[in-house]
């Protein structure tokens, strides 16, 4: 059954990718693509429900299925094996559930695109690799999925590849991810060398046993986390995610918000056996997380592209998840992953609906007052905004509150500074999200006449999905994921001195959300004149934030250009051409000159040749007499 869950989307990829457009002419072709492309993921979701029922009936003993042995060297097999426990169940339900919704949404969004079949083929391919990632028992299978989702992401970001900028964004995503993957590979090598296995449950067990393995958990933890900073867009490798918004919007929702980018969080939670023994690595995870959250939130405040705001918000929210994982609250990290999947998917799809209504416009400076024109989109977007801002009783409130609490009070590294930065970030999150809401849907209309005439609500296949996700964003928090996962991922202990602080943290959390809301209202309500005046006052800061701290430019200057310069000028011009070929040509010239000189000996006089031959013979005889 687990195998079927994973392979159904693969079948969809093959059917739509290879046959759909060839077997059926339109419009039957489109219907076939839709049926296969959406039907198989939904079927996978239903099978997952069944698998979950089986898991529960079996008292949560993990299910496993062996597909085959990939390779076996010296009697040590690398098996392709699926594994289904509480954590997998949560992940697979999110992936297939939210995934199916986004597939359905895409039917309306991508309608009429000339590459409709290719789109669904890629989307199914993504789902297949994502399921491998979360279903794999060994790090190797996880890595196959890990790289595979990167491929799907590459193909979908560059889906409209005729635009060189979009193709470049896809390439950037792949390469930045590869940097992380190199670290991840090293982590796998260390683990395999030390333990002789890549099965994650065995690795965890080995680290939990005493005495533990003879390798540093911190080293392994850091190496694997390097992989996570790539896939989950954390400092210093987050730079690809904002560019990834070049892809179709449902792709941004599915891959670059709800599922793929959370793979790093899943991996850290999955390998918690290592991280609980790696204090240094955990500290690093927490600090990278909280700083990324903060840093990305500051950028989000100054962005004017609706998708860019959401992209930086995703980077920021992923930072929150790593903060939770870094202080040992793995279940809480997965909790936020789960609520984030709902509200961020809802936001992105809502943004897609807005872009759809605006005939492709993404600049929020040219929007405003759309609420009445596209009410379903507005209300669902508003609910999701309130959820991400952490207003009770919406989903984001529960998970964010828990993160702040553990960041402060966890025995495994909770600290005042972590919670202080996180709280400030939460305030900024509420502010920039409500700013987005105001500038897009409320206030004054800034639409040009052409766009204003064409504004229309999206078809039901899209709005229906928005409503479903908005409902999940509203009530999803009542299912306490940390509690569900606790038997597998125990929550860290609470510092005794801080045990009384939970209520103040809850109050703080709500107050921050409201403050952000009020702040945005005050700034951007009406004609948003305060915002304009303030923006002019801090023009310098605004430029830096709008320019995203110029990190892309910095990387290009420090890494990109030197690499090209050295390759061109040192390796090619000096190394290959001057040194190696230069030497070679010099030798050839020398040989030629020697040959020319020797050639003069060939005078054509037979007597001279005979003389030489005689000399040679005498020499040979003399040598033979001495040596034989």
């Amino acid at each position: 059954m687990l195998t079927a869950i994973a392979l159904l989307p693969l079948a969809g990829f093959l059917l739509n990718g290879l046959f759909a457009t060839r077997l059926f002419p339109n419009p039957r072709g489109t219907r076939f693509v839709t049926l296969v492309g959406c039907g198989l993921p939904i079927l996978a979701f239903l099978l997952t429900l069944d698998a979950f029922a089986e898991l529960r009936a079996g008292g949560y003993v993990p299910l496993s299925e062996t597909l085959y042995t990939w390779i076996s060297i010296g009697g040590a097999p690398f098996a392709i094996e699926f594994w289904f426990d509480r954590l997998t169940a949560v992940m697979v339900l999110i992936v297939t559930g939210v995934g199916s919704l986004i597939h359905v949404y895409s039917v309306g969004y991508m309608k009429g695109d000339e590459s409709y079949a290719r789109y669904f083929a890629y989307l199914n391919l993504f789902l297949f690799f994502m399921l491998l990632l979360v279903l794999g028992r060994s790090l190797l299978v996880l890595f196959v999925g890990w790289e595979g989702v990167g491929l799907a992401s590459y193909l979908l970001i560059g889906f409209w590849f005729a635009d060189p900028e979009k193709a470049a964004a896809g390439k950037k995503a792949f390469i930045v991810n590869r940097i992380g993957d190199a670290g991840f590979l090293l982590g796998m090598f260390v683990l395999y060398t030390a333990l002789g296995t890549l099965d994650m449950d065995r690795i965890n067990a080995a680290f939990m046993a005493s005495p533990g393995p003879a390798i540093s958990a911190t080293l392994v933890g850091i190496l694997l986390f390097i992989g996570a900073t790539g896939k989950s867009a954390q400092i210093p490798l987050y730079v690809w995610l904002p560019d990834a918004m070049a892809g179709p919007t449902p792709v941004s929702a599915l891959i670059h918000a709800a599922t793929m980018v959370t793979a790093g969080v899943y991996m850290v939670a999955r390998m918690s056996g290592i991280y609980v023994h790696a204090e240094g690595a955990s500290q690093l995870v927490a600090w990278v997380g909280v700083l990324t959250a903060f840093f990305a939130a500051t950028i989000a405040i100054a962005q004017n592209d609706i998708k860019k705001v959401l992209a930086y918000s995703t980077v920021s929210q992923l930072g929150f998840m790593f903060l939770a994982a870094g202080v040992g609250a793995y279940g809480v990290a997965v909790f936020h992953l789960y609520t984030h999947a709902f509200f961020k998917a809802c936001l992105f799809l809502g943004a897609g609906s807005v872009i759809h209504a605006m005939s492709g416009e993404q600049d929020i400076r040219k929007m405003g007052a759309l609420a009445k024109r596209i009410p379903v989109t507005f209300w669902t977007f508003a609910i999701a905004t309130a959820a991400i801002a952490g207003l009770p009783p919406l989903a984001g409130f529960f998970s964010k509150d828990e993160i702040l609490w553990y960041a402060y009070a966890s025995e495994r590294g909770g600290s005042f500074w972590l919670v202080a930065i996180a709280a400030l970030t939460a305030l900024m999150t509420a502010f920039y999200m409500f700013r987005l809401l105001w500038l897009t849907f409320l206030g004054e209309s800034r639409l040009d006449a052409h766009a204003a005439a064409h504004v229309h609500e999206s078809p039901f296949s899209m709005t229906g999905v928005l409503v479903a996700l908005a409902i999940l964003s509203a009530i999803g928090g009542f299912l306490s994921i940390p509690h569900v996962l606790e038997p597998m991922l125990p929550l860290p202990g609470i510092l005794a001195s801080r045990s009384g602080a939970h209520l103040p943290i809850v109050v703080l959390s709500v107050a921050l959300g409201l403050a952000g809301l009020l702040g945005a209202w005050w700034m951007f309500g009406g004609k948003a004149e305060r915002a304009k005046a303030f923006g002019e006052k801090v023009a310098g800061v605004r430029r830096v934030l709008e320019g995203k701290y110029f990190v892309d430019e910095l990387y290009d200057l420090v890494i990109g250009r030197p690499l090209l310069w050295i390759s061109e000028n040192v390796f090619l011009k000096i190394g290959d051409r001057a040194l190696i070929d230069g030497t070679l040509n010099g030798l050839a010239a020398l040989a030629q000159r020697t040959a020319a000189a020797m050639g003069r000996l060939q005078t054509g006089h037979l007597h001279f040749y005979a003389l030489l031959a005689l000399a040679g013979l005498l020499g040979a005889l003399a040598w033979g007499w001495r040596h034989v």
């Binding site: 060297i73 010296g74 790289e147 590869r178 090598f189 067990a205 190394g575």
Partner: protein, 519 residues
């Protein structure tokens, strides 16, 4: 027909092909192509049969033929399959029909002679792989040079003369050193044991003194290193590739370069184990330099053939690492990397040839947006690119992953023993996976994506059925080795173990992974 006889038929079939082309009619080129293709196909079918019959559990020489040739010198006609060569022979026979099919429309001048040369190279390459006698090996090794020289020289591009001379000088220089070392090796075997023999199996036990080993190893290694090629002995390769016709590039990248790594595995390391162990770190260093240097140079090329040429240097660096690691996983990875590179590089050179036939340019700046113009072509190109990058599920991943893992295991042991040099090298080698993605995807982006731009774009048509067939065969092989490497790797495992014992001695055997407890 006994299997040993079939192996002889496989080896000598190309000679029949040469005889056929000599007798054929130049005015009917399609008949020459068709019959050559059929002959190659028969050869592949027979090789595939032998591959299937190959017993993975038998460590000895299989399907062997042993005929005395020059008994006084101990020279014999000794051929057979073993774990070292079985996959490479299969690869060579697999590429044969594809090379003929791939040259169908590209070669219009001297069609008979061209096919004779393809057969001659095929004969020489297969002979080099199946030879189990050093003298025979050397003959085949030298024989490879001639048809390659002619192929570039006759059907090559504008600067073909420069390229051929460079190619011949480099390789001939290596060969001469190997010849001298070979004579000394057999002579010293005779002085110590009293028996002259060129058989590999006898030479493994020559028991040379370390000082002599160093010199002989250096001579053999230089010759093999030029063939691989290892930086800084590589500058013949880009020129040879650029000037060679598609068939030449495919043969060169597909099989010929593997002669170098195969030579290291079959002869260089196991014949001179003490010297090889001394040189491990240097070989690893050169492997890492090849990976990084090749990748960096691929990054700045403007000629699409040169990009793939330099990527070959980078990819075979992994194979060298795996061999130098003397770790079972690493050795297996090296073998896989050789075969995988043979498939992906051959495929990419075919594809460069296909676009060149259409647009008559190899200048990357002339192209853009090919994905819109040639969608089928672009799908194949993308798959082969991803295989070259080493994406999981392709053969490239199997090779790179195993080679790097093996290298890392050896490096970790050395680190535990107090020497961290190798660990640093392994760390740098892993950056190759980033650089590989960098140059290949940058290439793909400029070539396939963006606004459509290509010389003669208005006449360009997508792939023909013949071309699709060639590429589909290669892609199928790429996925076979990526998804199901177990069966082929079983057939090479015993040879890898033997290599490990010969080179590593007692130390390596003790560290077999089978002895590691699996929790």
């Amino acid at each position: 027909m006994s299997d040993a006889l079939i192996l002889n038929v496989v080896l000598w079939l190309p000679v029949a092909g040469i005889v056929y082309t000599a007798a054929a009619d130049e005015r009917r080129p399609d008949a020459v192509r068709g019959w050559s293709f059929a002959l190659m196909l028969v050869q592949f079918a027979l090789t595939a049969w032998l591959y299937l019959r190959y017993d993975a559990a038998d460590p000895g020489l299989q399907f062997a033929t042993r005929l005395p040739w020059i008994p006084d010198w101990g020279v014999a006609y000794l051929i057979g399959l073993d774990g070292y060569n079985v996959l490479l022979v299969l690869l060579t026979a697999f590429l044969g029909p594809l090379v003929v099919a791939g040259s169908w429309t590209a070669i219009t001048k001297d069609v008979r002679l061209f096919h004779a040369m393809v057969f001659l190279i095929q004969f020489a390459m297969l002979g080099t792989f199946v030879a189990q006698d050093l003298f025979l090996f050397y003959l085949f090794w030298e024989l490879m040079l001639v048809p390659m020289f002619l192929m570039i020289g006759i059907w090559g591009g504008e600067r073909r003369i420069y390229a051929t001379i460079k190619f011949v000088l480099y390789t001939a220089f290596g060969s001469i050193l190997m010849l001298a070392a070979m004579i000394y090796l057999v002579w010293s075997l005779k002085t110590t044991t009293g028996v002259a023999s060129f058989a590999f199996a006898d030479l493994y036990g020559a028991g040379l003194k370390p000082a002599a080993q160093s010199w002989l190893f250096a001579a053999f290694a230089l010759s093999f290193a030029i063939k691989v090629p290892i930086v800084p002995l590589h500058t013949w390769l880009p020129d040879a590739h650029v000037e060679a016709p598609t068939a030449g590039s495919v043969i060169l990248a597909g099989v010929l370069l593997k002669m170098g790594t195969y030579g290291f595995m079959k002869l260089g390391f196991p014949l001179f184990p003490d010297a090889a162990r001394e040189a491990t770190v240097i070989v690893m260093l050169l492997g890492v330099i090849s990976i990084v240097y090749g990748a960096c140079l691929a990054l700045v090329q403007t000629d699409i053939k040169k990009i793939i040429a330099y990527s070959s240097i980078s990819h075979l660096g992994y194979a060298m690492l795996g061999l130098a690691s003397v770790d079972l996983i690493g050795i297996q990875g090296a073998v896989m990397q050789m075969v995988s590179h043979g498939l992906t590089a051959a495929g990419l050179f075919f594809m460069v040839g296909m676009i060149y036939e259409r647009c008559h340019s190899r200048n990357l700046a002339d192209y853009g947006g090919i994905a819109k113009l040639l969608p089928v072509y672009s799908v194949f190109f993308m798959v082969l690119t991803l295989a070259a990058i080493g994406l999981p599920t392709t053969s490239g991943f199997t090779g790179e992953f195993l080679a790097l893992l093996g290298t890392f295991r050896t490096a970790w042991q050395a680190h535990a023993a107090g020497n961290s040099t190798m660990l640093w090298l392994a760390g740098v080698a892993v950056t190759g996976v980033v650089l590989g993605a960098l140059y290949m995807l940058w290439f793909a982006q400029r070539f396939l994506f963006g606004a459509t731009r290509a010389p003669h774009a208005e006449h360009v048509r997508d792939l023909s059925a013949r071309e699709v067939g060639i590429l589909a065969a290669l892609v199928a092989a790429v996925f076979w080795l990526g998804l199901f490497p177990d069966e082929p790797m079983r057939k090479t495992e015993l040879a890898a173990r033997q290599y490990q014992q010969l080179v590593g001695g007692a130390r390596a055997v003790a560290a077999l992974p089978a002895t590691e407890a699996r929790r």
